[in-house]
Amino acid sequence: MNNRIVQNMAESLAKTDKMFSRTSQSVAVREAPLASNLVPVSLGRLKKATLSTLTLVTMALASCGGDPNGTIQMPPARSTMAPEVDWLYYFIYWMSVVSFVLIIGVMMYFVIRYRRRPGNERAAPTGHNTPLEVLWTFSPLILLWFLFDWGFTGYMQGVVAPTDSREIRVMGSQWKWEFTNCEGIVETGNLTVPVGEPIKLIMNSTDVLHSFYIPEFRVKRDVVPGMYSTLWFEATQEGEYQVFCTEYCGAPVGSGENNAGHSAMMAKITVVSPDEYENFCAEGPPPPAECEGREGDDRMVCWGDSIFHNPGYACYTCHNGVSAPSFNGLWGREGVMMDGSVVIADENYIRESILRPQAKIVQGYNNIAMPPFRLSDNQLDAIIAYIKSLEE
């Protein structure tokens, strides 16, 4: 037991040294001009001395900052940011415990020591002690300034994403999360990211306020309609992590298992190895759960149908025969293009139309410029199977 504590303390000491050297440099290192402007205050040597003293005090008190397996108070710490947040959390925690015990201990002592007894009906008149008043009015400022500074430095690291971050779009809407991953692959309710790489989420909402929160990463940011907000993290361990919506967004009227609204607006972050992630981006996501258990063409048609109706792609909004050709009866049909050429809608035509939509445009449908969709080969096959099925 003792050995473990000593070992923990040694590890913590190493961690803290690293942490403090990082807090003083990191902002500049991360090439963020905004952040370096924002840390104008440096107390120099005094700060360093205070830091090392307080570090020692912290060392003696806290033994569980940033535990990757979690503690009774904190969920597992699985991002690069999490250990620092936990360190500060436990620092404030132990500081609070000590303050509370001191204040309430003194209070209880006085209550017992000076309780009313015969002969003590009259209390001694209250005196004045201005130096004491001034002391306890102003001395907490030092500690509070230290907390502010530590918290602000950590906050800025969370705000300013490293410039080499991988960018992923997040769309919140009542009551689901949608991610545009690998520059084009849309995932709903699950986000696949590589371990050990900074990920920057660029988020907005299609309806009301939401908030994106991953407890294991200690990050949270509101998702607001009409503006983008960003959040970044770097996962330190593979696994599945919970995403919560933490800004109240209502619930539908009526009963039913899927009607929990706000509290059911959850998602998973699936952290995988860089290789697996590369694979994921190339192959695209696997078919949705509702297509599991089906065989051959049937499975592909189901998958294509789910892509067509996925609001993340929203094919259906344009491909209705008005803005863009309908998929009904499209397969094998001859069409006249803008340049007068005649093309048969076959596998290659459909594939090209998804990956490079501007290559061939059917006459009469040049009002809307369809953006390219980076679907995986499997997904393209699924779409083709789906369009084929509509012809019959």
Binding site: Y93, I103, Y114, R115, F148, Y155, R218, R221, Q242, S263
Partner: protein, 561 residues
């Protein structure tokens, strides 16, 4: 004396002292009364009904949360329940609780004056409160108010039916009640103090009420304007907060918290104000560092205006704003700490009696200290990001609002009950209910700190299994808390029915309000008082003043014939 008898014909039964309860009879005499004491009692009844309603909603919410999944209601119903719990507790109970009920009753008495500066305005503010309450009832009856008490846009402004509009207008109206009470108190404190009652003798309860009144007058109009803008957006489609109409939803949060953070001090300062009186009386001593404590109330009132942004660290404010709001937020810890330190120092060499009001005062110190210290986690930026909008925040503000304000209010109610009703209550029952309330409160809310730091978001109808155990115990605690309040209610009702007649000064206090009869004379004092000593000058108060009519557990001089 004759002139007085003519202007105020007394209906006091023969042989009974004339007091504010018996000098006029009948329901009408209450409804049109200009007596601040009767208005205070009417407020007290009204807010206790609101407290009961809010408490029932709280228990329904906790029952739903006792186990994961559907327990007793659907998600949509649950959302209405927590909205009603929050809105009723904040707007109908806590904000008016101490100022409008206890403050109305005791502020003029403690100033040694006959009434507040504007008695008619005082009655008007009560009826405005009633009107606001009726509008809130209309909102609850006609439809779905499920926005949370914060009314965040665009969710609130896009609500399909008119119920949200009724609710915001109800809060708008209730705000005026608060403003008028504040105005009345400021004018009364400035202009109507009894001779000899200079500012340095002002009871600390009055200092607290004064600081509260300043916030009520300055901050509430901003809420009124905000809610009016929200109503205009919801009904007329004017784009202010909804991005679809060209508005900015974060703007609403700024406006809302510009009121609602100072409102936190409208809630907690009166609680602190009461605790000052309790600590002084039950230690038989002046509050240590009187001027520091008085000024800490005023500085909390002012600082309260500068920290609203700390509710929005994750909202998308600029980093500069975030930095400044965090730094300013830490300053709030200073005056709060000053109070706690001075209260503790007051106990030193006191003559401490652990009567039921004192138990509430000491509980206040402990619970408020926990509430304040956990505020440090939330004022610190990087930890707040993790904890924001989780149960940690729920626990934190319940420790301040319930552990602070409600404990202060209940303590004050026990303390002044004999003065208001002329009856003593059963001390044993009072201590039993205190123990249940204290235990139940801590079991309910302390566990929520851990739920929150483990990541449990607030306003969730359903939750993951990993949170089930703590939620279950928390719900259990809320029932204990509820039972505690029921015991308290029974105790007070028993006291009204057959309580022992209260002497003028049952606690042996040097406070001015104890220098009149219980219940007080219709004019508060039979003769206009002249203050020759401060309200905490125990060393200048005679044994007769302090111990006359002490209910008997200490040897005191015989009651005057």
């Amino acid at each position: 004396m004759t002139a007085e008898a003519i202007t105020h014909p007394s209906s006091a039964p023969a042989g009974e002292e004339e007091n504010y309860l018996n000098h006029q009879k009948g329901l009408v005499s209450w409804l049109i009364t200009l007596d601040h004491k009767r208005i205070g009692i009417m407020y007290l009844v009204a807010i206790l009904v609101a407290f009961l309603a809010g408490g029932v909603f709280a228990l329904l919410v906790r029952t739903e949360l006792a186990a994961p999944g559907h327990t007793i209601m659907e998600a949509h119903t649950y959302n209405k329940m927590f909205t009603l719990h929050g809105a009723i507790m904040v707007f109908l109970f806590i904000i008016p609780s101490i100022p409008a009920a206890l403050g109305n009753f005791f502020l003029p008495i403690m100033l040694g004056t006959k009434d507040v500066a504007f008695p008619r305005l005082n009655l008007a503010s009560f009826y405005i409160y009633v009107a606001g309450t009726i509008m809130a009832l209309v909102a609850i009856t006609i439809g779905d108010v499920d926005t949370g008490w914060t009314f965040y846009t665009p969710y609130s402004s896009r609500a399909a039916d008119g119920a949200v509009v009724w609710m915001t207008l109800a809060v708008f109206v209730l705000g005026f009640s608060s403003i008028l009470t504040g105005l009345n108190f400021i004018a009364t404190v400035h202009k109507m103090r009894a001779p000899g009652l200079h500012w340095k003798r002002l009871p600390l309860f009055i200092w607290g009420m004064y600081a509260t009144a300043v916030i009520q007058v300055l901050a509430t109009p901003v809420l009124a304007i905000t809610l009016l803008l929200l109503t205009m957006e919801a009904t007329l489609g004017i784009g202010i907060f909804d991005p679809e109409l060209g508005g900015d939803p974060v703007l609403f949060q700024h406006f809302f918290w510009f009121y609602s953070h100072p409102a936190v001090y409208i809630m907690i300062l009166p609680g602190m104000a009461v605790v000052n009186e309790l600590i002084a009386t039950f230690s038989q001593r002046a509050i240590f560092g009187y001027m520091f404590v008085a000024m800490s109330s005023v500085s909390l009132a002012l600082l309260g205006f500068l920290v609203w942004g700390h509710h929005m660290f994750t909202s998308g404010m600029s980093e500069y704003a975030t930095m400044i709001f965090s730094a300013l937020t830490f300053l709030v810890a200073i005056p709060s700490g000053v109070k706690v330190f001075n209260w503790t120092a007051t106990l030193y060499k006191g003559s401490i009696r652990l009567a039921s009001p004192m138990l509430y005062a000491l509980s206040f110190i402990a619970l408020f200290t926990i509430g304040g210290l956990t505020g440090l986690f939330l004022g610190t930026l990087s930890t707040d990001i993790h904890l924001h909008d989780t149960y940690f925040v729920v626990a934190h503000f319940h420790y301040v609002m319930v552990g602070g304000t409600v404990f202060g209010f209940i303590g004050g109610l026990h303390y002044w009950w004999p003065k208001m009703t002329g009856r003593m209550y059963n001390e044993r029952l009072a201590i039993v209910s205190w123990a249940l309330v204290f235990w139940g409160f801590n079991q309910t809310f302390f566990l929520q700190f851990i739920l929150g730091s483990q990541g449990m978001p607030r306003r969730y109808y359903d939750y993951l299994d990993q949170y089930a155990t703590l939620h279950g115990f928390s719900s259990l605690g809320s029932y204990i808390l509820g039972v505690g309040f029921v015991v308290m209610l029974v105790m007070f009702l028993l006291s009204l029915r057959n309580g022992v007649k209260a002497p003028p000064n049952p606690w042996g206090s040097a406070g001015y309000e104890w220098m009149t009869t219980s219940p007080p004379h219709p004019h508060n004092f039979a003769e206009d008082p002249f203050m020759t000593r401060g309200p905490y000058d125990y060393h200048l108060a005679s044994d007769e003043e302090l111990f006359e009519g002490f209910p008997g557990d200490f040897t005191v001089s015989e009651a005057k014939a």
